[in-house]
């Protein structure tokens, strides 16, 4: 589904990603872990098409298409969803209006008619129940006045509405207490399917207790330095990132 080859990216001339290789197939959940500043969020932003980053080398293909050639909205329409680490507030635009526009744009790109208002409301009701989202939130402006937990839940709710093929969760656990974390993780688990792949970016192992990954990759100084199964996350939790830093400091420096 997604093939990342030797991907390099820089921001304001500073190289952040130094050659990432990653193959993600349908139905798989990949966790990407790493210490602060290792390039995790950069990877998420580059996949989503954020323009602050300059691609300096490598390639990314999504379902056979050159992803890097696509505009951010085209990537979204093709089925890539990014759950933001810091979702923005959009005053004056209600959740309902925002979602209707998003759902219909994605449908249009897939050659479908806009959703009938009645069906749209039914879908909203279903998905909101699934994500344990309060209906009254729908008439409020997007993320405005939401607590940190509500914002993250809203991201997962949007994901459920847009039905993506590949979902990238950028530190969705950051700033969440354990109860909020569980709700978010439960929501994500409900969306797991053989057709959908996930990239779960996190600093801590605790999210992966709830969203159990098929693969764990450790990102350090812009490279994936270690890959393994879910046990790798536990090993990291036990040994800390210093272990990685010590092991790879020399190699990276050279």
């Amino acid at each position: 589904m997604l093939t990342i080859s030797n991907l390099q990216a820089a921001v304001e001339g500073k190289e952040i990603l130094k050659g990432i290789d990653l193959q993600i197939n349908k139905g798989e959940v990949h966790a990407i872990m790493g210490p602060n500043g290792s390039g995790k969020s950069t990877l998420a932003a580059v996949l989503a098409g954020r323009e602050d980053y300059e691609i300096t080398g490598g390639s990314v293909t999504f379902e056979g298409e050159d992803l890097l050639e696509m505009a951010p909205e085209e990537r979204a329409q093709a089925g890539i969803f990014l759950a933001f680490q810091y979702p923005v507030e959009i005053p004056g635009v209600s959740n309902t209006n925002f979602l209707r526009a998003a759902v219909n744009e994605v449908r249009k790109a897939r050659g479908l008619e806009p959703m009938e208002p009645k069906d749209f409301l039914t879908t909203i009701r279903e998905k909101a129940a699934l994500m344990e989202i309060d209906q009254t939130m729908m008439s409020r402006s997007v993320n405005e006045g939401f607590s940190g937990g509500e914002k993250k839940r809203n991201e997962i709710f949007q994901m459920a509405m847009l039905d993506p093929k590949l979902a990238v969760l950028d530190e969705t656990d950051s700033g969440l207490d354990i109860d909020a974390l569980k709700i978010v993780a439960t929501g994500v688990n409900k969306l797991r399917s053989p057709e959908r792949a996930f990239v779960v970016i996190t600093h801590y192992q605790r999210l992966l207790d709830h969203i159990v990954p098929d693969f764990v990759h450790v990102l350090y100084k812009g490279r994936i330095v270690k890959s393994g199964g879910k046990e790798l996350a536990h090993e990291l939790e036990a040994k800390g990132y210093d272990w990685i830093k010590a092991e790879f400091a020399e190699e990276i420096a050279s």
Partner: protein
């Protein structure tokens, strides 16, 4: 800010101005220049009574002693008032008696502008929408007015001001220049001297006008100015909702539009006045466009209400402060405004609320949106006189910036001479940032649509004040005015 945004802002393009066409019709146009002879000629063309001519001449002589105002936050080269023609009228043998007699060229123009004078047809097919009576003013004259007979049954007078001077001289004489004196300001004085037409409306006591009344202003001729005058009187306990729209062809030179609007709400009356102003704003380099220098003021007597709503997207320069004098006790004044500037447009707009009566209330909601290299100023005055016990005002002035080469300015003036008054002022400035746009993009929504959604959300409080038929048009207009303002 990211480099990319700079690159994208360089690509700022003007959207196509939809109404930039010219109607090819024979004109009755007088030579350029302004002197007493021209004032007399206009008055004679209109076959006006002596008192009207004297009124004009007085205004003209006063104008000669005045100077153009310079306090506004806009810049433009000096206007040569001798290079303008002060009267242009499409040639029609006489004002048509029925709508079937309208010149086909004019009909085509109306169709292009989407205006229906057809009394049988409901506006834009929405089932159950109320009908709208329209007065169409092209250049210097009113071309046609619809629904006149129907309104007459209720005693409502809705016609061009020229007709009103002929047919209802007592009303015109009693009320004209009582709200905006002929010597009020430079442009009002000029207007008084040379105004050629406009709309007149009188709602009798206790009548609730059953349909929206509207005037559509169109500048067509070259090298002319448009000076229209609107006088609207709502007698005791009556109600009227009035709409005003305007467009002009795309021309390389600037054209002057100096209008005067006077509203009189007598005891217990309510006037709701809505404007969607879409004069040609000039091209993306700031060439051409209308100078919109307008004086609008209403007076609210006891228990009366005057409410202004304006959506301003056009004009190269806008200079306009629809105001309310709250003269009677318990009078209410409202001002809701969305002013959009893009490219090189400049707007200095706002309101004045003058509290004279006791327990008077005013509310100001101003939303400025600036994009491109434009400058957008809000200028508002709230004055509470000594006599105005328990006056209340609430003002909210918000500015939204798109890109980083535009400017937003707020100039509030608050003068309170009565200690029982409550005056509140809130202001915010926000920017449509890259991160918000990216959030939309990541959900599959392109940038144009994102900006339209943000702007319409931002302006919602004002848009909600517009009559429904207008609100949809105004929303589209906002989106079009800002097309290409963000990459």
């Amino acid at each position: 800010m990211a480099r990319e945004e700079f690159d994208i802002l360089d690509e700022v393009v003007t959207s196509e101005y939809k109404y930039g066409f010219v109607t090819d019709i024979e004109q009755d146009i007088i030579p350029i220049g302004l002197n007493e002879g021209v004032v007399r000629m206009i008055s004679a063309k209109k076959n006006e009574p002596e008192w009207m001519l004297e009124w004009r001449l007085k205004a003209y002589r006063h104008w000669l002693t005045m100077r153009e105002p310079t306090w506004q936050n806009v810049t433009f080269p000096p206007i040569d008032y001798q290079a303008v023609s002060y009267y242009a009228a499409p040639k029609q043998s006489a004002k048509p008696q029925s709508l079937d007699e309208i010149d086909p060229e004019l009909r085509a123009t109306l169709d292009k502008l989407g205006i229906s004078l057809d009394e049988q047809k409901r506006i834009t097919g929405v089932e159950g929408t109320p009908r709208i009576a329209v007065d169409f003013v092209m250049d210097s004259v009113s071309v046609a007015t619809s629904f006149k007979e129907k309104l007459k049954e209720l005693g409502v007078v809705f016609c061009s001001i020229s007709e009103a001077i002929q047919e209802h001289p007592e009303l015109v004489k009693k009320y004209i220049s009582t709200v905006v004196p002929t010597n009020d300001n430079y442009f009002a004085a000029l207007n008084s001297a040379v105004f050629s037409d406009g709309s007149f409306c009188y709602i009798p006591k206790g009548v609730r006008c059953p349909m929206e009344l509207s005037t559509y202003f169109r500048i067509n001729a070259e090298n002319t100015g448009q000076f229209e005058r609107t006088l609207l009187i709502a007698d005791e306990g009556s109600y009227v909702s009035y709409l005003e729209g305007c467009t002009a062809p795309m021309r390389d030179e600037h054209q002057l539009h100096a209008a005067v609007v006077e509203l009189i709400a007598l005891d217990g009356a309510e006037i709701k006045y809505s404007t969607v102003q879409n004069w040609y704003p000039g091209d993306k380099n700031g060439k051409g466009g209308i100078y919109n220098f307008v004086t609008k003021r209403g007076v609210a007597h006891k228990n009366a209400k005057v409410s202004w709503t304006q959506v301003e997207t056009g004009s190269a320069i806008t200079w306009k402060y629809p105001s309310v004098t709250l003269k009677g006790d318990n009078a209410v004044g409202e001002f809701y405004s969305v002013a959009v500037t893009n490219n090189h447009q400049q707007a200095d707009t706002g309101t004045k609320m003058i509290h004279v009566g006791k327990n008077t209330k005013s509310r100001i909601v101003s939303k400025g949106i600036s994009a491109g290299r434009s400058q957008n100023s809000y200028r508002g005055q709230v004055r509470v006189n000594k006599t105005a016990d328990n006056a209340r005002n609430f003002s909210q002035c918000d500015s939204l910036l798109i890109g980083d080469r535009c400017g937003a300015h707020t100039f509030p003036y608050i003068e309170v001479a009565n200690t029982t008054a409550t005056v509140e002022h809130e202001a915010t400035t926000s920017k449509i940032g890259e991160d918000i746009i990216f959030y939309f993009n990541q959900r599959g929504i392109d940038t144009e649509q994102a900006v339209a959604m943000i702007v319409n959300g931002y302006a919602k409080e004002v848009m909600n004040q517009l009559p429904m038929e207008f609100a949809v048009e105004a929303q589209k207009l906002l989106a079009i005015s800002l097309e290409g303002s963000v990459g």
